[in-house]
């Protein structure tokens, strides 16, 4: 299997005013195309840190991160930005929608940043909103949406540039179980029907049980499940 994400001996130490907090050490990890991977572990074990590094939102302190065959640390800032925008779709626990843009405009945003044309953007954004079942909320602002709706907009946005993989950090952490299930269904469908690679952090054993691949982390180290 082709690996779209590959981590070699990755370590991360947070440095805050002379205090070093080790968050990850000697992480070796490969995630293949079409994979559905769950990252599990206790709070503070380094799950988010790992996902941020995979998503090129943060830099590792040591080791190599290879995404789509490119070593991230060797890329210049604009290329890393392009990588984030076009190859990676990020879904956050707290949605992180852009507050002054409507749902439709939020879904358009990654395409705006990628320099796509208006007509093409709107068409794609509408399709995606329809896919997540929010066609009628296209012109609502984030403040007018429920948590579950916001997260569905966020997923649609993550898919806007048809990324290589989707990373989701506890996407159901702030939702009731019904909305949470809807979100998981959408992600599972993406994986099953479109073969989209998905990496998800979750505390929910039942979600994990659907995964092809479970990565368990404790104290910044992978303790099981890594292939």
């Amino acid at each position: 299997m082709d690996s779209v994400i590959s981590l070699e001996n990755v370590g991360k130490v947070y440095r805050n005013g002379g205090v070093d907090t080790p968050a990850l050490s000697s992480i070796n990890l490969k995630i293949g195309k079409g994979d559905f991977a769950s990252i599990m572990g206790p709070s503070g074990s380094g799950k988010s840190t790992l996902l941020h590094i995979i998503g090129a939102l943060d830099k590792p302190s040591s080791g190599k991160v290879i995404i789509d065959g490119k070593e991230v640390s060797k890329l210049k800032e604009p290329e890393i930005a392009k990588l984030r925008g076009e190859k990676i779709g990020f879904v956050f626990q707290f949605f992180n929608l852009y507050p002054t843009l409507t749902a439709l405009e939020n879904v358009e945003l990654p395409m705006v940043i990628a320099g796509k044309e208006k007509k093409e953007r709107v068409k794609r954004a509408k399709e995606l909103l329809e896919m997540v079942g929010l066609k009628e909320k296209a012109n609502s602002f984030p403040s007018q949406l429920s948590g579950g709706q916001k997260q569905r907009v966020a997923i649609a946005r993550a898919l806007a540039n048809n990324p290589l993989f989707v990373l989701a950090d506890e996407p159901t952490g702030n939702l009731d179980s019904k909305s949470g299930k809807d979100i998981i269904d959408i992600l599972e469908n993406l994986n099953k029907k479109e073969g989209k690679t998905v990496v998800i952090i979750t505390h929910d054993q039942s979600i994990a049980s659907h995964s092809k691949h479970i990565i368990r982390i404790e104290d910044g180290r992978i303790v099981g499940g890594a292939k």
């Binding site: 392009k82 990020f90 940043i113």
Partner: protein, 420 residues
């Protein structure tokens, strides 16, 4: 990212936070409005003075009694100046008249008088002049009637305001008006000059030197002394050279030297230079005040811009997580702050122009004394000024945005996202 999308994002930020944007540009609005309004006063002064001076002609020399310092730099205001030292005499005038290069030379006396017309009393200034010559050295036109002639000892030419607004009833040609209780016939009415140079105010009356003596315009001891001697030089002669001759002759006639010179000579050129300096100072002073307020406005915009970008750190993190490059974030914030500056500048220009036209329509500033006495000063907003204000505002905006924009652009996405 497309440039039009960068503008769209910037505009979205500005328009979706109207209150914040309004507060951000408030300082620049007020600063620019102040600059436009204040500088327009200075430029208005300059404009009106330039007009006055060009109507005066280049070959006029004015001699007034007293040293330059004693007359506080406004010695040329002749008829209005209340000099005590009446040191210019008939003998001076005779000496001047024989200097080569002089076309006319004439003396004028002036003083305050009481007027009475249609049983209504008023105060005014009167000038006793030499009929037939005075009008040739003055650059004043008649609205109606004629100038004084030697044959009508009791004729008077009245200033425009005396004719039309000093008394309840209009004073027309051939009306009778009492000056210091003596009856005079109005033979001419002067055009409104707004004039402050040459002592021909709209508020004064012009009578012959002989009648001036009759009504005791000046005390009897000063009967043969002048408030001003006007000299017009011939076409081909150099006014500055002629004024140099006049100075030499008068010094020797008065037995004075440069140190204790008891008269002042002004030519069109020296008047122009002096008025120019005064107005330059006024404009500089007004401009200085305005510049301070503009600077304060600039600090204000920088301050709010900084807070505003700080507050949006998380959103900037979101944009980064969606692939926005540092350079685009920098551009977006710079465009935003430059647009804010432009809006502030445009609104400021609007209010400044409004204030300026209000100032000029309520009659403007009428200095009680000096060369502009009694004159309503118009204001003048120049295109250059407006363009400068707009350009300046845009720059202030952009510079204010630069620091927070760089800071925001260089943050790691996770750090920005963590910001609360």
């Amino acid at each position: 990212m497309r440039i039009e999308d960068i503008f769209r994002m910037s505009l979205n930020t500005i328009l979706s936070r109207k209150l914040r944007s309004g507060l951000t540009i408030l300082g620049i609005v007020m600063g620019v409005a102040a600059v436009i309004a204040l500088v327009s006063i200075g430029q208005g002064l300059q404009e009106s003075v330039n007009q006055q001076l060009s109507s005066l002609g280049g070959n006029l020399v004015l001699i007034t009694p007293g040293s330059e310092r004693a007359t506080q730099g406004f010695g040329f205001a002749g008829g209005f100046g209340g000099q005590n030292s009446k040191t210019l005499t008939d003998s001076d005038l005779r000496i001047i008249k024989i200097i080569p290069g002089i076309l006319y030379a004439t003396g004028v006396v002036s003083g305050s008088v009481s007027l009475e017309y249609n049983s209504q009393k008023s105060e005014s200034r009167a000038q006793g002049v030499e009929p037939g010559v005075w009008e040739l050295v003055q650059s004043v036109d008649l609205e109606s009637g004629r100038f004084l002639s030697k044959s009508d000892p009791n004729g008077v030419v009245i200033g425009n305001r005396v004719a039309h607004s000093l008394f309840k009833k209009e004073v027309g040609i051939n009306s009778q008006i009492k000056i210091n209780n003596k009856i005079f016939h109005v033979v001419g009415i002067l055009k409104s000059t707004g004039g402050f140079i040459g002592g021909s105010g709209d508020n004064s009356v012009i009578i012959s030197k002989t009648s001036a003596d009759d009504i005791n315009l000046v005390s009897s001891g000063e009967k043969d002394s002048y408030s001003t001697i006007y000299v017009k030089t011939t076409e081909g002669s150099d006014t500055e050279t002629v004024s140099g001759y006049i100075q030499d002759r008068l010094r020797s006639n008065h037995h004075v030297s440069e140190q204790n010179q008891d008269f002042t000579i002004n030519t069109s050129k020296t008047i122009q230079a002096r008025v120019g300096t005064i107005i330059g100072t006024i404009t500089l002073f007004l401009g200085g005040i305005a510049a301070i307020s503009l600077f304060v406005g600039g600090v204000g915009i920088a301050n709010t811009m900084f807070t505003s970008v700080m507050e949006r750190t998380k959103e900037i993190g979101v944009l980064k997580s969606l692939g926005m490059a540092n350079s685009d974030i920098l551009r977006m914030i710079l465009v935003e702050s430059a647009l804010l500056g432009l809006m502030g500048g445009a609104i400021g220009v609007f209010f400044g122009t409004l204030a300026s036209s209000i100032i000029s329509s309520i009659g403007g500033i009428s200095p009680a004394a000096g060369p502009l006495a009694g004159r309503a000063v118009g204001t003048y907003v120049s295109l250059e000024m407006v363009l400068f204000a707009l350009l300046f505002s845009v720059c202030v905006g952009a510079v204010s945005g630069l620091f927070p924009a760089r800071r925001a652009a260089n943050l790691q996405p996770v750090e920005a996202l963590r910001y609360e």
